[in-house]
């Protein structure tokens, strides 16, 4: 809940910041969505558009940084207001990274879709992207509604994303072992999957920042649990058919 300041201009400035964050969020969501769509439908035109759109996010982040610094200098904010402003700086940095990761997926479209790839390769990636995008969407919805009591879903979904990523990693390794011609597209897809998994992590970061903005406390730490790809190795004999 936001209290009212004597200077309504200050309220306006804070509101403007959160509006810019939401606009950046919308852009980032759209970029990731389109990058994955470009990959699955082998659409280099759409990929080009995503790569161009990244500039909007970079610009957004610079603007938020400038505005935030000016507000701090001018208003000398405290408590919630200060957290709000510092939070905006952090969230915009996370969103800018999300945009970069989306752009990187888009850049790989041409290399992946060069030859005809079986659709099963993309199905897993699409499901992973859906999980990460749902995560991002729900986190940004919480930013709008400020109902941090429901933020527990973030951790659950993060575990799901990690599990899905681990499974995808294993699957792609298997494809590579089956046929060396798969190595090029699968390597690119591995990076795409990694990028999407990172997008989920950034969404989790944003959730933690929102929790901090609203409550003033850090989100309670939980057992660290990442993906398990660091332990995966696939035996050299191809799996029995």
């Amino acid at each position: 809940m936001q209290s009212v300041h004597i200077m309504s201009a200050f309220d306006e400035e804070l509101k403007y910041l959160s509006k810019r964050i939401a606009a950046m969020g919308g852009h980032a969501e759209r970029m990731v969505e389109q990058a994955v769509a470009a990959l699955v439908n082998a659409d280099p035109g759409l990929a080009e558009k995503v790569i161009r759109d990244d500039a909007v996010l970079d610009e957004g982040q610079r603007e938020i940084d400038d505005k935030a610094i000016i507000i701090i200098a001018k208003r000398q904010p405290m408590a919630t207001d200060l957290r709000e402003i510092v939070g905006a700086i952090r969230i915009s940095a996370d969103l800018e990274r999300v945009g970069d990761l989306g752009k990187n997926v888009a850049k790989r479209v041409v290399a992946v879709t060069d030859g005809r790839q079986p659709t099963s390769l993309f199905r897993g990636l699409e499901a992973l992207a859906n999980l990460a995008l749902t995560q991002l969407k729900e986190v940004l919805d919480v930013y709008a509604s400020r109902s941090v009591d429901k933020i527990g879903f973030v951790r659950d979904r993060d575990d799901q994303i990690d599990a899905m990523y681990t499974s995808l990693f294993r699957e792609l390794l298997t494809y590579m072992m089956e046929d060396p011609r798969n190595i090029t597209p699968c390597t690119h897809l591995l990076f795409c999957a990694k990028n999407i998994e990172r997008i989920g992590d950034h969404a989790t970061n944003i959730a933690e920042t929102i929790y901090y903005i609203v409550t003033g406390d850090q989100m309670p730490a939980e057992r660290p649990k990442g993906d398990k790809t660091d332990k995966i190795s696939v035996s050299a004999t191809p799996p029995a058919k």
């Binding site: 959160s18 509006k19 969020g25 852009h27 199905r123 499901a127 995008l133 709008a144 681990t166």
Partner: protein
């Protein structure tokens, strides 16, 4: 029209009477001539065209009725009467009122929430900016939501009245039309890929039957059996694809209907009793007491539990028993009811668990084929549960079996 002319004639009756008298006088004195008849007719015409004072009176009274009626009309009732999602917001883009359809479609929109924070898509941002800045009075954009279910809207934003400082957003749902197109494309893509395998095998057997196996009755019988199995598989596949496509057609549920889970699960167990007997599996029940109702669609939930229980009987066959339990799950963030279907079969390897709800994802192609699976069962389950705002949790340990738990929110 005729009535209008009649009213006008009646209102100008004195003028007309004067005309008729004039004609009669002229007739009496000079006999009728064209010079008299034409002015008389003209007079009649003019009388009919004269705007009627009485009409003006009735229009005024209608306006008065309208004003009284509209004063009594609250904007809230009007918004509630609109079937499409409708959101009223003020100059700072803060929601003032959202109707029930908007709540159902977007959820979590309360008065006081800032609109651009909720509708973040770039096109929505420009729409709101342009209407709020006053450069244009109203505008329309196409807006699509991908998650959790795909929906497409044509959104119009405009200011309300003069100087009220209120604005309104109306969402027209276009998802259906969009989905019909997509459904066709998806259906063909999925179907052609999955139908090709059984079709190729049938074609192969026909060739053999006409060639080398022409005079071998034993082989013929065996081949025909295989062909029958394959056509059965194709039929099942088409059924599943169709029901999946149908689900995708209607993205969210009609609110207001309640489902009795106890009765639904009971009838699922009854309908699968023959299959369980065939597989030597006993189905055990462990239901909580008291009413077990959740909002939802009975037929769809029936399909969810049917698919889950069928899987448990088929793939958990070696365990010999399946446990179906219904419990109140109030521990999580939202109160609801958990329906768990647990088998004691071989279990699912960990790396497959996140992916088994994907279309055509199979852990083991061979087992799936022999058990007449289409690769779509869990995909359908997941789709239906998404529509019910429900969660599917899968627990499994290799060698100990698997548990599929459905959490259905009660509110």
């Amino acid at each position: 029209m005729a009535q209008l002319v009649a009213t006008r004639l009646w209102n100008s009756r004195w003028l007309l009477a004067a005309g008729v008298v004039a004609v009669l006088i002229a007739f009496a004195f000079a006999g009728i001539s064209a010079y008299v008849l034409i002015p008389a007719l003209l007079l009649l015409l003019v009388a009919a065209m004269l705007p009627a004072a009485g009409l003006r009176q009735s229009a005024e009274s209608a306006a008065a009725i309208e004003a009284i009626g509209l004063q009594r009309l609250s904007g809230e009732y009007l918004a509630a009467a609109v079937a499409d999602p409708l959101i009223i917001f003020d100059r700072s883009a803060t929601i003032v009122h959202a109707n029930a359809a908007a709540f159902a479609a977007f959820g979590g929109i309360a008065p006081g929430l800032s609109l651009p924070l909720k509708f973040r898509a770039p096109e929505m941002q420009t729409l709101l900016d342009s209407v709020l800045s006053g450069t244009i009075a109203s505008d329309v954009v196409d807006y699509t939501e991908k998650l959790p279910v795909e929906r497409a809207y044509r959104v119009s934003a405009s200011s309300v009245g003069h100087g009220t400082d209120l604005y309104v957003l109306v969402f027209k749902d276009q998802s259906e039309a969009r989905r019909i197109d997509r459904m066709r494309a998806d259906f063909i893509a999925n179907a052609s890929h999955e139908l090709r395998t059984p079709l190729a095998s049938i074609a192969g057997f026909i060739e053999t039957l006409r060639g080398p196996a022409r005079n071998d009755p034993a082989a013929r019988e065996q081949f025909l059996q295989i062909m029958q199995n394959q056509t059965g598989r194709m039929a099942r596949l088409i059924d599943d694809l169709l029901s999946l496509s149908r689900l995708e057609m209607k993205p969210y549920l009609k609110p207001g209907t309640e489902v009795d889970l106890r009765q639904t699960v009971d009838s699922v167990i009854d309908s699968l009793a023959p299959l369980a007997r065939e597989n030597n599996v006993t189905i055990e029940r462990d239901f909580a007491t008291g009413p077990l109702n959740v909002p939802g669609d009975r037929d769809e939930l029936f399909q969810v539990f049917e698919n889950l229980l069928e899987n448990a009987c088929k793939y958990g066959q070696s365990g010999g028993r399946v446990l179906v339990s219904i419990a109140r799950g109030d521990d999580g963030s939202e109160p609801g009811i958990d329906v768990t279907i647990r088998d004691f079969g071989p279990g699912i390897p960990e790396e497959h668990i996140p992916r088994i709800t994907e279309r055509f994802y199979r852990i083991d192609v061979e087992t799936s084929r022999t058990q007449k699976g289409t690769g779509l069962g869990l995909s359908i389950v997941k789709h239906i549960l998404t529509r019910h705002n429900a969660r599917l949790t899968i627990w499994s340990e290799v060698g100990k079996g698997a548990a599929f738990s459905v959490h259905l929110p009660t509110h």
